[in-house]
Amino acid sequence: MTRLPVAIVERLAPLAALPVRRTRSVARRAYAWLDDRSDLRRLLRVGLYEAVPKRGAWAYTLGSATLILIGNQIVTGIFLTMIYVPSTTEGWETLNWIKQHDEFASLVRGLHLWGAYVLLFVIGLHMVRTFFSGSYKRPRELNWLSGVALLLLVLGLAITGAFLPWDQAAYWTAVVTTNIPSYTPVIGEYLRTLWRGGDFVGPITLVRTYGIHIWLLPALLLGVIGLHLYLLRHNAEFGSYVNYRGAYRADGARPEREARRELEPPYPSLPTDDEWAAPLETEDFYPDQTFKDGLVSLAVMTLVFVLAVTVGAPLEERATQNTTTYTPVPEWFYLPLDQLLVLVPQQLISMVLWVPLFGVLLLVLLPFVDRGHERNPFERPAVMLPALIILVFMLVLTAQGASRLFNLGV
């Protein structure tokens, strides 16, 4: 009796496998067809097979996580453009309708908002990691500069996106932010009027900001991402000092294990100092590094999803300037600057607004100031200590701002 079902299964199994085999065959032929016409195989090989530094590989996953988060912003952003109306009268209405009646769209909006917040955090971590590891040094100066451009573009997207709900928070963010360019010497007033579309924040401000948010900045962003990835492959991933012979100079000791295999291009061909030219141990980008990248990206996206579901995207009252009770609260990533503006007297405010520009200038100049061959952060105190002071200062301002808002009860 028990043999009958087994026999049936044995008979039916090949039949069940038939569609799978057929599908595989179709896929293989489609792939061959594509490869014949586009050289896809070579493209994949170039894209996926490369030796990357092995030690500290988990720390090098932040770039991929950033890319995945940007992908999330693009997908959810496209979805939101199909619902949102960029109008001072209807923008808030559409979002309020979503909030009241459309749970899926609310979730997408939450994913967009929290994706942006997490993206800013992850991109900041990525930059800090790159800075600590000295990855901006020759020949990777352009990698660093394109990374700085990406950071600025993401910050620009975040602040322009904050205008769009046109609730109270968005309105006052627009009032404060569009006023900032007015402190530019000579052309300040012109820039403010250009952005606002007049003397005051209004419908034209919203439409212009919307255009900047969904067209101008994303177009630039995608272009710079392409450049960043090209430079990453061209100059190869540096990793950090722990991967290099130079890391062991302090006591003259050599690592127990030397490179396990011949290093692949482009490492040995780079015109850097020998001890920082090629990692001692490497692994394949695919599947070793991509597995780690995938796990971290999954964790980050899970976090975004959880936040989108549990906290969601808030929507305050409809924007109005006729209020005396509303306390504007800045976006958390502008809290350091906001706190600085609170602290500094009126006469010096224009000076404070130059601080971010000065910060950007420092970031841009960094690879050209710190040109020594040393990559070990513990052997680069001349840049590490001032950078740590600046970093701590920003964190402190953020915490002080949060403490101030707590005591204001907002």
């Binding site: 302090a250 006591d251 500094v344 010096l348 513990f378 001349a382 701590v392 005591n407």
Partner: protein, 458 residues
């Protein structure tokens, strides 16, 4: 023996606290003891937070002299911990309970949780400090990571302990809802004070190391020892200066919160009878940045034989800024005062208006300049540090380090004096008076002055 028996025996319980030379005597006794306590406790906190970092740096950089320095800091803690703790016990059990019992009872009732957590974190800190020092040899080699983990825990315990005490100190200046422990802890000046004190303790540790190392350098005859103490002095002063240069911004933020939430105290410090002391503090701050810059200049010269023009320029700029920053406020009268005297003209026209003495915006600009110039000096010295040969420093450099350490101590004493006197005659600003120990009112929150008190005071 029960109390009635005592009374029956003719022994009278005292109706009031001991005389101690009257109210002024109380203030002098408690104030001087507090000053001694913060001098000891500040260095203990600084070392317990900085020592493990030095050990970790040495491990990461594979430099044994970092380990030696961290070990020395541990030994210092073992010797001096008890003095700091004993001064605190004397302060609390005898002086505060005995002389200002009413105030102390209120503080304990409102700030029960911070004190409770503080006691346990202090207990942890004591245990971890002794374990950290005495297990140095045992947990070396392959177990070093374990030792450093213990050091990391010590940092956390030490920070929490200081944070709890800061909650008490800040609450006394800007009291909030007494029934809500979170609101009590998060009172408006707590966070700025925590930052200010933590950074100050770390800076104090750096200057302390520099001063001690300079003293040892001057006494050393052995070349290896001189090399070590020379390096330790340089390391300490870099750290102290790097921490101190952030204080103008952090201190300004603290002052701003005091202005918003305890205007009377702020006015007294900035424009009132404590303003000379406050100016002296700004002057000391300038010197604490100026002398290390001078040290950097001299130290590079001792090694390279050349004078760094960049550091010389920064030294001059810091000197000019120090002079600029310490123009007395009295020169910056309000417009109404000047108008009343009919002298609303600039100084150079025979009037009384001298705008450069004003805090806003000129002193703010000077404080910013302090930070920028000192940061540039630290950066430049670190940039040139590979050229420095250890063990060849001159005597002047060492005296500059010792003076910087003494100034740091002076700064801590002065800061304590100003802060504690700013709320005088109150013990808790607006709530309890020191003299006569009278409860004045319920505490309030925010600039509006509206009380949100939920639980009445005793």
């Amino acid at each position: 023996m029960a109390v009635p028996d005592v009374l029956a025996g003719g022994i009278q319980l005292p109706g009031a606290s001991p005389g101690f030379g009257g109210f002024l005597g109380y203030r002098i006794a408690i104030g001087s003891m507090f000053e001694l306590h913060i001098l000891l406790a500040g260095i203990v906190s600084g070392f317990t937070q900085f020592g493990p970092v030095v050990e970790w740096l040495g491990w990461m950089r594979r430099r044994p002299h970092f380990d030696r320095l961290a070990h020395g800091m541990g030994r210092f803690l073992i010797f001096y911990f008890a003095f700091g703790a004993a001064s605190a016990i004397l302060l609390i059990s005898s002086l505060l309970v005995g002389l200002w019992g009413h105030l102390w009872a209120i503080i304990n009732r409102v700030l029960f949780w911070p004190f409770y957590v503080e006691a346990w974190t202090f207990f942890m800190m004591v245990i971890l400090t002794y374990l950290w020092y005495f297990s140095w040899g045992l947990l070396g080699g392959r177990y070093k990571v374990l030792h450093m983990a213990m050091g990391g825990t010590l940092i956390i315990a030490s920070y929490l302990q200081v944070a709890m005490i800061d909650a008490v100190a800040s609450y006394m200046l800007t009291p909030t809802q007494p029934g809500n422990p979170i609101a009590v802890f998060m009172n408006p000046t707590n966070f700025p004070l925590q930052l200010h004190r933590t950074i100050a303790n770390l800076a104090y540790a750096g200057y302390g190391i520099a001063g001690f190392a300079a003293f040892r350098y001057l006494r050393s005859r052995d070349e290896v020892q001189r090399g070590f103490w020379d390096w330790a002095g340089s390391f300490g002063v870099i750290w102290g200066t790097a921490m101190t240069l952030t204080q103008p911004a952090i201190g300004f933020d603290y002052a701003k919160e005091i202005q918003l939430h305890a205007y009377g105290a702020w006015y007294k410090m900035m424009l009132g009878n404590l303003s000379p002391e406050f100016l002296a503090q700004i002057f000391l701050l300038g010197l604490m940045l100026l002398l290390p810059t001078w040290y950097f200049l001299r130290r590079l010269r001792s090694s390279t034989g050349r004078r760094s023009r960049v550091l010389l320029g920064l030294l001059v700029l810091l000197a000019v800024t120090t002079v600029f920053a310490t123009i007395p406020y009295q020169f910056a009268m309000t417009y109404d005062q000047v108008q009343a005297q009919g002298m609303a003209r600039p100084l150079w026209e025979g009037g009384l208006i001298f705008p450069f003495a004003a805090m806003i915006p000129y002193k703010i600009a000077a404080l910013t300049a302090y930070a920028v110039f000192a940061l540039a000096a630290v950066f430049w010295y670190l940039h040139r540090l590979p050229e420095v040969r250890w063990g060849v420093a001159g005597r002047l450099e060492q005296w500059l380090l010792i003076t910087s350490a003494v100034l740091a101590m002076g700064m801590i004493v002065l800061m304590g004096f100003i802060r504690e006197n700013s709320r005088f005659p109150d013990g808790i600003a607006g709530v309890v008076q020191l003299h006569g120990q009278q409860t004045i009112s319920q505490p309030s929150i925010g600039p509006s002055g509206q009380s949100r008190a939920q639980v009445p005071f005793p």
